[in-house]
Symmetry: C4
Subunit: 382 residues, 4 copies
């Protein structure tokens, strides 16, 4: 399976076509339910539908053929891997997405329900959505507990409302005619949606409504409490995983001993800069130093510019001296840097003298550079 | 009283029947208020009602007979314990749930209000709901303060709206006819429910509405602030209690001295894995090590698989060397593990050399295993 | 001025009468705007009104006479203090509350707007509301920034909606007839109130509505973000102030040196227990130790009960040994305890050997008590 | 470009005129769409419009002429700087704001859409809004992921609702006539707006509505989770930047070594006091000490008052002795102080003995002052 982060040109092209096909499929579905559009453009809409459906059928075949290696499973492309993939969640979902074209040929263009299935195909390409799904998944027990509480309060409120209001709506006898009918009022009220199609008429019913509205807000505020804490944990997790991968790419850290990397990875924060972005500005206070992981930055010194690439570091001078930045640093290409906060910098220097020595020596060299050509400078200046 | 976590087959059977009876009782109540259903299925509904009611009557009797030991109270099953239980909150609630059948026999099938009482019976089996109740309970003072502020703003808004709007609704003279009527508008507006049955007509009244809506959102955002912080505290509490219980089950920690357990318990995080779940994957970065509390895991090494049970640990190699995982670990049965984060791992190793020594020795053995049969390996490999 | 926390019987009586009078005044106001009630009970309502009004007039006189000492100002009861109080916010507010009776005598019973002024009198007695007010006050700049953003988006949305919808409502020509009219639609939509009195009719107008609803939710979620963080800070502040006051009452801490108290105060958490509450339960894991600040607790040991009062501590044994609690502790009277978490306990013991020695010695005495009568035991057992 | 914080009288005057012109422009726009107002005051409204439009045209010219130095770019006022500014976001926005007057002269008074463009001019003067924009900008990926999830659920719900409800609305055949029409119901329901113009009629449709409402609340609670965590990070960032600037202004910190400043800056919290505000009150517990950055404070001792200015500190005595404050401190002028929390104070003293010595010596001098005139006291008393 092509990974969402796969950056090769062919993967990018496939992604573009895939997204276009999903959009086409959904667009056709939306349009074909609008009668005037369907009447005027029935044929092009049908063609659009079959193009999208054929694409997803082909995609299913291709994915099945190249069946990816599953964790701890068979190698890609073997029959075992194909069966494993076909019976996995992704495989079954892709099968469902592949069938509408066949179904339409057999049973006529009942394409309505298909479009929203195709919309889920975007999920595979959205790492952020997976991340949010994990937040909800981790907190599912607490979320369901809130839902249980919501249902109990809802049922109680509907029962009481039924008793209070069942004879108070002569103009609309269906309004609170049964508890199920009162449940409709209850859910519309507790979620503060308030369609206004059923509104209590008695004073007691209105007082109950007020309690239900306020109670609904309180109950759903618990969801926010749960998700805020869950998201904070997910953020920490994502940051650690990303930093770990990046730290391994910086040669500087290779020399400091493997067990220290884990500690350093906790402290560093990855930051992405587009080409042309200003990383630090001359004269600003220095709140962190940077390691270059990918791309190139330009250090704009008075004596001319220096260019630093992957594995080099800059910005440590302002942290050591406490003086403002002595150079502006601009990303020449799109860059990934690892930032080390000033507080963590001093903590790390205190705990690991060998690290401190390397950085201080480099800084000292930069302050009092020996007479050598600029092109030969190995480190970074700021 | 059977505990919610009680996993014996008879307890599980009882729970299933209990939940079924609650669902039956509520279902009957809902259906019997829908006239066509009541007309068509009056007899089966009545039978369903009496079955559920009889079950809850019997349950009350059984619970009273086996009256559980109350904290600091009498032993289970004595007369004292029965009286204590009968007068406790749980006992009185169960009595209320037991009476509808008797009442229906005496006073006719006025069963409407009963169903929602039965819904509360689910609460007893939802530890998550108890946890959320504690969050709200701990923060009740702040929650009530918000409610007081809400009431003051509501009363002020309704008074002003009454002055502005009382003569502006010739088509609906009841709309803002009194302050109590304006309060109904106020609560519907402040909670952003917006039924639309009463809408201000004057420019001043609409401006006031806007202020009331925005003010309502601000006031209820305070609730979220309160509950987010309260839930964060509850999460810490739950985690500590659970870990404490689990740590006591790992023999490895028995040797490190009782006073150290408290510190370790703070650092470990319990994690549950269903059977077949992948705990760590070969090639991933190592962000924590694991202790097995319950269940069994399979370490899939190149040289064959190893099985580790309760009390053993794995995953420490990747933390010590900084290299990726060298084996995939899968839960063979449903497992409870204690995870030690890489950061805390290094902190703990630094502070407690004797602990570090045990883990390093085990790791060293695993890297350079003496020639002995796999079945004799005591520790875990990863 | 009587403080909200003033617990003397006369203060409590005053508070009860005060709250009753506010409730009476508000109740009369509500009732007197309901025509049937006013017609039927005009005289008793008028009497109720004048009773409440007279009470607030008297209260104003009494408060003015005993004018409280203002911070850094004159002593209570002097003319200077009276002028200072009369021109303070509290004084002016009380004057406003005192005038309605006089006004009603002069200008007739136009009492409507008075009631909600009286409602604010509850604020003085709600420390929680003051606390929440401080949260909002501290974050007012950020809250106002959100409001500015809201207004800009609202104005933009209303302008565009006016262009899109002004000719699309033949049945209700006033709906989007001007931008001010569109602003009404905008605020009802952005706050997700949705009265439904004005609903866009064009496709573009509906798409704009969707954007406005989602944008409104996003903008107001910022308020929640601001208040969550502000409330977290307020919680820390409140806890520190309360603990500081309590630590000063525990003799144990008097001996450990003044500068250490500040550190200890950061770690201790005040907890209130009603009479009869169980503080720790035999067999539970020990997650903290306790210092008694006020009240008395009963330690239920196998050998009989012990009673500990203010200044004594208990619960340290389980922390030192890591074993479960060996006694149940119940609050005999309503108690205030200071809890020291197990993690902070070990940190404190490590940093302050002299404190550790005192606690360990006491614990050792309790484990191996010399032969002496129970009544002579000075410390606490758990 | 004049900075928002620029405090010179001319800048303040410009700001006042600028804000007035924005308000005038918006007011004219609102009024000119209200037909009766336009009919009665057409000429003054047109004059108001041209005044505001002329102002913004002039402003554009002035800003272009004095074109500010861009980061890393040309010096102000050069042709290069002018082109750079004119093509920057700010320049293009100001151009758009400048054109309506010209456009109105050419194409007639189609002024409607202009007003809301002018509203964005307030953004430039609101640092808080920039800060909130940064929070949303940093979290844009997660916010967009939530939006994607929202769209997928919305499309699914609309498709299902279309199937369930399309034939259930004989009285309003347009209600669920197509999926696009059902999308309108979906977005109104998922955001809990609930206009009530389209309400499901079938039982299944109502059940779906309930799920959609609750799902919408859950999805948007994720936004809150994202923004709460993002705002917490922004708060830390703002505080650090501000403190760093202030620390540099306190001479006391100049002597403690440059690298220590970074650490101190993390601990200090800036606080602003208006003239006359009470900073500490005699008899209160001491929870922090203060450094004066700007302004003057009065120390109200029994022996008379002392005045401290920029660079001096007070409040350390209560932290060292653990006793309550021995003096009330009032801000004589509007002040900026740096507060050092008691916990951080002790941590800092422990880690930096030379800092501790300076503060202790000063405190000791203050407790046992040598016989010298009050005017000669160099430090601060509290």
């Amino acid at each position: 399976m092509m990974r969402a982060e796969d950056g090769s040109p062919s993967a990018r092209l496939f992604r573009a076509v895939h997204h276009l096909m999903v959009a086409l499929g959904i667009g056709v579905m939306l349009a074909s339910t609008v009668e005037p559009l369907e009447a005027a453009y029935g044929v092009p809409l049908a063609i659009g539908f079959y193009v999208a459906a054929a694409f997803f059928l082909l995609e299913y075949g291709a994915r099945l053929y190249t069946a990816p290696e599953l964790p701890g499973g068979e190698h890609r492309g073997t029959v075992g891997a194909r069966i494993a993939w076909a019976t996995s969640f992704a495989g079954i979902f892709d099968l469902i997405s592949a069938l509408p074209g066949v179904a339409a040929l057999v049973r006529g263009p009942q394409t309505v329900l298909v479009g929203f299935v195709w919309a889920f195909k975007y999920v595979r390409y959205s790492p952020g959505l997976a991340s949010l799904g994990r937040v909800i998944g981790n907190a599912r027990q607490a979320i369901l507990s809130v839902l249980l509480g919501f249902c109990i309060v809802l049922l109680s409120a509907a029962s009481i409302a039924y008793l209070l209001e069942r004879n108070a709506h002569p103009e609309n006898p269906e309004a609170f005619a049964s508890i199920p009918a009162a449940l409709w009022w209850g859910i519309v009220t507790m979620t503060t949606t308030g369609y206004g199609d059923i509104v209590p008429a008695t004073v007691a019913g209105r007082a109950l409504s007020g309690v239900v509205m306020v109670g609904g807000i309180l109950i759903f505020a618990l969801w926010t409490g749960i998700l805020v804490n869950g998201y904070a944990e997910e953020l920490r997790r994502l940051e650690f995983l990303r930093t770990w991968e990046l730290v391994a790419k910086v040669p500087f850290f290779h020399n400091i001993g493997a067990s220290l990397i884990a500690e350093v990875a906790r402290l560093l924060r990855p930051r992405d800069y587009p080409s042309g972005a200003v990383v630090v500005r001359r004269g600003e206070p220095g709140d962190c130093m940077y390691f270059v992981v990918e791309g190139e930055v330009e250090i704009q010194l008075a004596a001319g510019s220096l260019y630093l690439g992957a594995g080099q570091f800059f910005g440590e001078l302002a942290l050591l001296t406490g003086e403002p930045r002595n150079a502006t640093v601009v990303a020449v290409q799109s860059c990934t840097l690892l930032a080390l906060d000033i507080v963590d910098f001093h903590e790390l220097m205190a705990r690991h003298p060998e690290l401190a020595r390397v950085i201080r020596e480099e800084a000292s060299k930069r302050l009092h550079p020996p007479a050598r050509p600029v092109a030969a400078v190995a480190g970074a200046h700021n």
